[in-house]
Symmetry: C2
DNA sequence: TATTGTTTAAAACGAACGTTTAAAACTACC
DNA sequence: GGTAGTTTTAAACGTTCGTTTTAAACAATA
């Protein structure tokens, strides 16, 4: 209760970052929406960069934890070995649902998270990407290892790229979801939800993961 | 020759936009790299927004033209009807090669183009996306129509989303290519090129396009 | 050559940004 | 109740940005 200031800043920052990006969102609009003094951001987070990192950590921390437990449960449960297609869908479904669960439990915006990953990777010089890989890279290695079991044989390098192709489906769609959902509603009079999108994406990712390698590297 | 100023600005802007994004790139660095006076941007392009639009039009104009001719040739050549998988690869290969050709012929950066599309869609309120769809949307409808012929039966809405899933593979990978290529070189001592990435992506996109619909909308 | 229209040049403007500062307000503990 | 530590407040700082302005340089025409 003492420092609801911090939470209010994080909540407002998340919303604004999701709507307008990191650079185009000023600390003044964040602190204004949070009903908090401007200096509070620098006092509690050190800098704007620190705030951005805090917003990401507030999502990625629970996400990696959630993902880890669900993947452990997946490995424990010795199910009948199905086809690779099904296994891939199960694994990617775990990832998708993990994102959704963490987002819902902590009242986070999935879009801002996707946007964050997107901008983190787009900036070749981005310090954020390095922070993310340093901090959470290991946690995702486990997932990637499980995933690779059911994918066509390929080199580490090829898998690296393939994984990012799959990531692109997720990240681009979710980070563009606001615009796409609006278009969809106007064009097709549809009221589709992000949850449906997440469910739709899983088999598409699984299919993309299974595409066989052509030529050699 | 009289206005090489315009071209020098466009060239420099493209490079800087690709490297640091649109918001983080100042007109001062652009005009400095272009060896042009600061005021030249506002004189020739009206505003920074006008410059961004000019950079995109310089790519999308030739691209749509190139794509149109190649697709017409594709439709004219009455080849033996192959499987959907092959046809999809042909069509998506045309798109990929069209992007590469236009980029190479006009000395454009594929990365900045992908980044542009990425940010255009990420900003739900973005005027750039509306400009792009208004200006070039019709040209891409034709491509989408051809593509859909060889995809599983689905509603217009489902196809809309599926198409953007495929787009995500392309856009995310290319706009992150700078960072990913650097990681790849450091981690796997590989000197992969963007051209190879583009070729790799095609069958993955084709596979994603073919994933069958589950459940109903 | 004089004139007109176009392009470049240098300088400044006003606004918005992240950050810092210094005092005030608040909290908790002795 | 006074005191030490923490948080909040209001104001200002210095920078950088996109844009504008005014004049100079240039180009083309008659």
């Amino acid at each position: 209760m003492t420092s609801s200031t911090i939470d209010r800043i994080l909540d407002a920052a998340e919303v604004e970052f999701a709507a307008h990006g990191f650079v185009e969102t000023s600390l003044r609009t964040i602190t204004s929406k949070a009903k908090v003094n401007l200096a509070a951001v620098n006092y509690h987070f050190g800098s704007k960069k620190g705030l951005i990192q805090a917003v990401t950590d507030r999502f990625l921390g629970p996400l990696t934890k959630n993902l880890q437990t669900q993947l452990s449960a997946y490995e424990m449960a010795l199910t009948e070995t199905q086809g690779d297609e099904q296994e891939l869908q199960v694994l990617l479904g775990i990832l998708a649902r993990s994102c959704q669960q963490v987002a819902q439990q902590n009242h986070h915006s999935l879009a801002v998270f996707a946007r964050l990953i997107n901008t983190a990777y787009s900036q070749s010089q981005g310090h954020l990407r390095k922070h993310l890989t340093k901090q959470y890279g290991a946690s995702f290695m486990y997932f990637m290892k499980l995933l690779r079991r059911h994918m066509p044989p390929m080199t580490h390098e090829q898998f690296f790229w393939r994984f990012h192709y799959l990531l692109g489906i997720l990240v681009f769609s979710i980070s563009s979801s606001e615009a796409l959902l609006a278009i969809c509603e106007r064009e097709y009079a549809s009221s589709r939800s992000l949850d449906q999108i997440m469910a739709d994406i899983v088999p598409v990712m699984a299919s993309a993961a299974q595409a066989s390698i052509i030529g050699d590297s």
